[in-house]
């Protein structure tokens, strides 16, 4: 038996939990978080700004808000416009993206709008929206949609456009109808990139939801941030911000994990 064979056999053996943790880079992630916490702590201890709480104080505040339920309650309120807005963006965005990718007339009429929306600072429109829809839920939903829709639509469009023409030709050569081409070739081939677009759209949606709460009326997470800032309760304010950033990252990370599982078997271990 050569050394290569031995090597191969070792690889097929089921690795223990510890080995798997090592291989996934978990120790590095822990070191990375520890480094961040340390820098935070040292910065705070150097007294560079009175409004900069120590890392430990922030964690204590985070724990306190988790325990008394105020954080959960705020998150639930923030989630409401986010979820409604995202559902709308996904349905409309994916639909229009596919339509633009398949039909050149739809592309001609709608693509410039989405290109503009994606490159322009759409956040500037949020105050305008409150003119019309007031300071309630509707405005916040619109804010989420404005930020997440363009990314989702543009990615769906590009996904359809990126489908390999030879695959479509293959389907045609076996006398596949247009309908079969779309349902059996184009949509499956485009779905990984579309899903990636959804992930980016969700990240933008979070931005929209937070911005809406900060700009329109403080509710949910935005309310917690504004309130604790106004009473100079900085540890709590930081804890809220850390919590929302962390939550957004976890959601996006989860989507990324699902994406890897669904579409890229070669990347699975």
């Amino acid at each position: 038996m050569t050394s290569m064979d031995i090597h191969r056999m070792r690889n097929t053996a089921d690795p223990g939990l510890f080995t798997r943790a090592l291989r996934s880079g978990l120790p590095w992630k822990i070191a990375s978080v520890a480094l961040f916490a340390l820098i935070w702590q040292l910065t705070a201890m150097s007294g560079f700004n009175f409004a900069f709480p120590s890392f430990t104080a922030m964690i204590a505040a985070l724990w306190e808000m988790l325990a008394d339920g105020s954080l959960i309650a705020a998150f639930l309120r923030t989630m409401e416009p986010l979820v409604i807005g995202l559902v709308f963006s996904i349905v409309v965005g994916v639909g229009s993206g596919i339509a633009m990718g398949l039909r050149s007339d739809v592309e001609w009429i709608t693509l410039p709008i989405f290109i503009t929306m994606q490159a322009a600072p759409m956040a500037a429109l949020i105050p305008l929206v409150t003119f019309v829809y007031g300071i309630g839920l509707a405005s916040k939903v619109v804010a989420v949609v404005m930020l997440s829709l363009p990314v989702i639509a543009m990615n769906s469009y590009k996904a359809v456009r990126n489908v390999s023409p030879s695959l479509v030709d293959m389907c045609r050569s076996y006398t596949g109808t247009r309908r079969q081409q779309i349902t059996q070739i184009i949509l499956p081939a485009a779905s990984p990139m579309m899903f990636a677009g959804l992930r980016l759209g969700v990240a933008e949606g979070f931005s929209g939801a937070v911005l809406a709460e900060l700009l329109i009326t403080p509710t949910g997470v935005g309310d917690l941030i504004t309130y604790h800032r106004s009473i100079a309760n900085f540890a709590h304010m930081y804890a809220t911000i850390v919590a929302i950033v962390l939550f957004a990252i976890i959601v996006v990370g989860l989507l990324q994990w699902v994406e890897a599982r669904l579409f890229r078997p070669e990347r699975r271990e």
Partner: protein, 250 residues
């Protein structure tokens, strides 16, 4: 698209949308849209006002400062992550975190740390722009063809010569990162000023909002959009001129 055998330019459909906007505005179908002609009329007023010039000045200065900061810190950081595995493993998680995090949530922090003025906006622009620059620089450095470095080494090149090769080979990716960073930076400068709301275009926006001057508000939005789009277009063109040598990499 072609219509009756004539080629119709790509962005021409915007004219259709503008006409539609005018109709919607005239008949008051959607409250959000005042007639487009009114917006254009307001645009003249906005542009000639003294506060506009001041707002633009502050916006441009804070944008350029934030972007410069992002370049000066972002490119070396990307280089470090591309060259050192340890640095990459320690920092990659955070760079990716900040890349997809709702950065708007951080602006209130900047406001208490740096005050309600230009520094906060500068930091916001920096935070919006820097991470994609870091990540693209890192990718560019990572993807330098190993044979190019071996070639240089086989002739006995010095460290500075190798560094030059890495930089030039990574340049297309670095430029792509800068372009994306610039677009993100525009969003940063707008969001920062909206939240600070007492300086620059942010102050103008709140002024128009408080006085219910919808047409003025739209005029300012359109001006901002036009600036953002021309900037993106300009950088894309510059990038294409450099891209002549990027044709080889896939």
């Amino acid at each position: 698209m072609t219509l009756y055998g004539h080629h119709v330019p790509k962005m021409a459909s915007l004219i259709v949308w503008v006409i539609l906007w005018e109709i919607v505005g005239r008949f008051g179908l959607v409250m959000l849209f005042p007639p487009f002609t009114e917006v254009i009329a307001a645009m003249g007023e906005v542009v000639t006002s003294r506060s506009f010039a001041e707002a633009i000045r502050i916006t441009v200065i804070s944008y350029l400062l934030g972007l410069a900061l992002a370049l000066v810190l972002g490119i070396p950081l990307g280089f470090l992550m591309g060259l050192s595995r340890t640095a990459d493993k320690l920092l990659n998680m955070w760079v990716n975190t900040f890349l997809s995090a709702p950065l708007s949530a951080l602006v209130p922090v900047f406001m208490i740390l740096f005050g309600l003025g230009t520094p906060t906006v500068v930091v916001t622009v920096f935070m919006f722009a820097v991470w994609i620059i870091v990540l693209d620089t890192r990718a560019g450095v990572r993807h330098v063809a190993p044979s190019l470095l071996e070639m240089s080494r086989s002739f006995g090149a010095s460290w500075s010569e190798l560094f030059k090769i890495i930089f030039l080979a990574a340049l297309p990716e670095i430029l792509a990162g800068i372009r994306l960073g610039m677009i993100r930076g525009v969003k940063g400068v707008v969001i920062g000023q909206l939240l600070v709301s007492i300086i620059g275009v942010g102050a103008l926006f709140s002024l128009y909002q408080q006085n219910f001057q919808m047409a003025h508000f739209w005029a300012l939005v359109l001006l901002l959009f036009a600036c953002a789009l021309s900037l993106a277009e300009l950088v894309a063109r510059l990038e294409k001129r450099i891209q002549y040598y990027a044709g080889e990499r896939n």
